[in-house]
């Protein structure tokens, strides 16, 4: 999967200045990538542009024709079916065995008869991510999709994703520095400073090599670099 | 709670006081008086309008304001609630109100013949007599005075009710135009003229079945006031009635037809002068006194028959008397 953003310019209607100005980016999959930045820096907007949901004012998004999906944490299932039924309805029947094992991984087996409003916030996030994993896609943009999931589960899920879908591309949007540092092949950081974003800072990640615990020191050092890139403050 | 009750009672008392207002004189020495009409301004109120416009009331020291009537207006209620000093009400309204304890007095009777008649196609039905109604469909307003009048007419003609098909009429005339109903009740001097014209334009020849012609007398528009006013201010009532009767007599004088036409045109906006003239002419037929009677004279026989027709139709309980209701001979 290859996706290229060329000279993207974008501003919100009525806003005095551009949010992005001639921003370019190349995502060369497969693998796990992250977008990182302070709140309100434009991560979600860029995700929408990458997913084709929001057209840029100028510039273009080109790719190899792969399927791009965008998932976010605020999504809900239709309330009139149980989550098990919904997941089965939106999954290809030949993949039901995969669905079953992913439900186990996500800890959703016991609640498959429940309706979406009856789930905890964490369960809702996991169920939502699960249904996207059951779709045909080449790039999945995951905008804070695991925001309400506890840290150990989150790490377990991301590890499993990388392991089970080695041929897919994931773009993870998160505020968790150590998580993005540890799991990502590359992290694109929204740089510090006033005015439009003209380019992202690309920092190489650990791509999940080693265990999070043993790599603790490296993760911390990488984390400092990422934070420094987006705040402009060296520690 | 106590305070709420007190507020409520004082509010009601205020209402009650305002309802007792009226009387006294204005700056010009004339006494303000309100007259509630039975319906919207039309030729049926020619006398009242003439009296105001030519200053007849004024000469009696009265400043009369006319209050237009309508479907939701009831002059007798206005008398009791103190919203008018005089009113125009039909005979059946008066009898029904009196039977329920309304303290009302009839001072004069405008129509000597009831304007309610049934219009029909003379081309199709020929000249219709009540006996000829057998097998026809007749429009009747259920609960309206035409229901009682029609029942009395059938009774006069010794026609059993089952021989005539009754159709409940509403404000929509289409069943008559479509021929589903053979006879439709109309006010002869107002809508009757318009409908008859429309029939003529369609090549038809209108006929009117007039219950009065067959001996059914049912009182229509009459001048009423409250018993209290009649007792407390007999002189005012006398002056008003005197001017009222004179106004009708003058208004119906053929010599005044043109002037009345132009006066009515101010009240009936949008109605052609020609139609107004014909309405005046038809009204004259209904108001003109019968031989040996005076203008606007209360026709006791007609009142008795009205009461009997209403009792027979179950519209009013038997046992109410007319003696206290009809004022003595005109002053």
């Amino acid at each position: 999967m290859r996706l290229e953003l060329k000279e993207i310019t974008f501003s919100y209607a009525g806003a005095p200045s551009h949010l992005f100005d001639s921003l370019s980016l190349v995502i060369q999959g497969p693998g796990f990538f992250s977008l990182f930045g302070l709140s309100g820096c434009g991560k979600s907007t860029l995700s929408h542009i990458i997913s084709g949901m929001t057209p840029p004012d100028s510039g273009e998004v080109t790719g190899d024709g792969g399927i791009v999906l965008y998932a976010h944490a605020g999504e809900r299932f239709p309330a009139w079916v149980s989550i098990g039924d919904h997941l089965r309805r939106v999954s290809p029947p030949q993949d039901f065995h995969m669905l079953r094992s992913l439900m186990e991984l996500m800890g959703l087996t016991e609640v498959e008869d429940h309706r979406f409003p009856d789930l905890s916030m964490g369960q809702k996030n996991r169920a939502n991510l699960l249904r996207y994993l059951m779709q045909r896609f080449d790039l999945l943009v995951m905008d804070e999709v695991l925001a309400n999931v506890d840290e150990p589960s989150r790490e377990r899920i991301i590890s499993a994703l990388k392991e089970r879908f080695p041929d897919r591309t994931f773009l993870y949007v998160s505020h968790n520095v150590s998580e993005v540092a540890f799991f990502s092949r590359s992290i694109w950081v929204f740089p510090a400073g006033e005015g439009p974003v003209t380019g992202l800072v690309e920092i190489g990640g650990m791509d999940g090599r080693g265990s999070a615990a043993s790599a603790g020191g490296d993760v911390a050092a990488l984390g400092h670099r990422i934070v420094a890139a987006c705040t402009g403050v060296e520690r | 709670m106590g305070r709420l009750l007190k507020t409520l009672i004082s509010l009601l008392c205020m209402l009650s006081l305002t309802s007792c207002s009226g009387g006294g004189t204005d700056g010009n020495g004339t006494e303000p008086v309100r007259l509630r009409l039975k319906w919207l301004y039309n030729a049926s109120f020619a006398g009242e309008i003439w009296g105001v416009e030519t200053g007849l009331f004024h000469r009696e020291g009265l400043a009369v304001s006319l209050l237009e009537g309508g479907p939701e207006q009831d002059a007798i209620k206005d008398l009791e609630l103190g919203r008018a000093e005089f009113g125009i009400a039909s005979g059946d309204q008066v009898i029904r109100a009196a039977s329920k304890g309304a303290e009302v007095v009839v001072l004069a009777q405008v129509f000597q013949r009831n304007p309610l008649r049934w219009i029909y196609s003379r081309k199709r039905l020929g000249y219709l007599r009540p006996e000829g109604l057998a097998g026809l469909t007749v429009g009747v307003t259920f609960g309206g005075n035409d229901e009682a009048i029609f029942a009395a007419l059938l009774n006069r003609a010794s026609l059993p009710a089952g021989r005539v098909k009754i159709y409940g009429v509403h404000y929509d005339f289409s069943p008559f135009w479509k021929g589903q109903v053979d006879l439709w009740p109309v006010y002869y001097n107002t809508q009757g003229i318009v409908i008859a014209d429309k029939m003529r334009r369609n090549g038809d020849e209108p006929g009117f079945l007039d219950p009065d012609r067959w001996g059914v007398r049912f009182v229509a528009n009459s001048l009423v006031t409250s018993r209290r006013l009649a007792e407390e201010k007999p002189e005012l009532v006398r002056r008003f009635t005197r001017a009222f009767v004179k106004a009708w007599r003058e208004a119906m004088d053929e010599a005044n037809a043109e002037r009345l036409g132009s006066i009515l045109a101010k009240y009936e906006k949008g109605v052609s002068p020609r139609l107004i003239a014909r309405q005046i002419e038809a009204t004259r037929e209904l108001v003109a006194p019968r031989s040996g009677k005076g203008w606007c004279e209360v026709d006791r026989d007609a009142w008795r028959q009205t009461l009997e027709s209403m009792s027979a139709a179950g519209l009013v309980k038997a046992g109410i008397g007319l003696d206290g209701l009809l004022a003595p001979a005109l002053p």
């Binding site: 997913s51 949901m53 999906l69 965008y70 998932a71 976010h72 605020g74 999504e75 809900r76 299932f77 239709p78 309330a79 009139w80 939106v90 309706r115 409003p117 939502n128 249904r131 996207y132 779709q135 | 009672i9 009601l12 008392c13 209402l15 009650s16 309802s19 009831d74 007798i76 209620k77 009791e80 609630l81 309204q93 029904r96 109100a97 009196a98 329920k100 304890g101 309304a102 303290e103 307003t141 259920f142 609960g143 309206g144 409940g168 509403h170 404000y171 929509d172 289409s174 069943p175 519209l315």
Partner: protein
């Protein structure tokens, strides 16, 4: 206490309160029996005409409920068409907004002309009166996306018109329940207005007859029956909606 029983008791309490006020005013202001009938006369009327009025009310309720159901079905169908962006949809929306501005009494002559003055005309008026508020609500509901639910279906190419309508309808079930319940009483009013204007059936016709005869007793009894039936119907619709939507809360 169940909701229907509670509603009816509440209505009876309000009705009795209003009667007490009316009679309080009558005796305080010495109004004649012609203006306000005394309690005994109303009671006498009620006992003498209970059967006639009850049957008339049943007839009206039959028209009102049928009119309400037709209105809901019609509003759903037209609302679904009018939600789109095409010229046709725009035209339907404009027509809906314009038509609802007309009082039904102004349209009634046309209705009576074509439908006569029987069941069909009453049904049409009952339907019309409850239809427009329903339609405006449904147009609003059907044209507002529920992004959090719809996004998945849209981005995965699974969205169908039926799915979109189902999502919007069920996601706004609270609003739908409110407008359906609220229009239940409107439909009752519509049936009564239809009977009042034309036709010789139903409680509206009895009221018109009573007005001709200035019979406030009949009107007071009719008001009681109308209130009771309206409360009952609204309670049944509310309860039905509650049970139907219980799984989704």
């Amino acid at each position: 206490m169940t909701s229907p029983a509670k509603r009816i008791l509440q209505f009876i309490a309000i009705y009795c309160g209003a009667l007490a006020l009316l009679w309080g005013a009558k005796y305080l202001l010495h109004m004649s029996d012609y203006l306000v009938p005394p309690p005994l006369e109303v009671l006498r009327y009620a006992t003498g005409h209970a059967g006639e009025q009850f049957l008339a009310m049943l007839d009206t309720a039959r028209v009102a409920v049928s009119g309400h159901l037709v209105a809901i079905a019609l509003a759903l169908a037209v609302g679904a068409v009018a939600r789109g962006r095409g010229t046709g949809a725009g035209l339907v929306r404009t027509a809906a907004y314009n038509l609802q501005a007309y009082p039904v009494v102004a349209l009634a002559p046309i209705i009576f002309l074509f439908l006569g003055d029987g069941f069909a005309a009453r049904l049409a008026i009952a339907t019309l009166i409850s239809y427009f508020p329903l339609l405006l609500s449904f147009i609003g509901i059907f044209s507002s996306p529920v992004e959090e639910v719809e996004h998945f279906f849209r981005i995965t190419g699974r969205m169908t018109a039926r799915m979109e309508l189902t999502i919007r309808l069920l996601e706004n079930r609270g609003k739908v329940a409110t407008v359906v319940t609220g229009t239940g009483t409107l439909s009752m009013v519509g049936a009564i207005v239809g009977e009042f204007l034309s036709t010789s059936q139903g409680i509206g016709y009895l009221i018109r007859k009573a007005l001709y005869q200035n019979d406030l007793s009949a009107i007071l009894v009719a008001l009681l029956l109308i209130g009771l039936f309206s409360s009952l119907y609204v309670a049944v619709v509310e309860e039905g909606g509650r049970r139907l939507l219980a799984p989704w809360r």
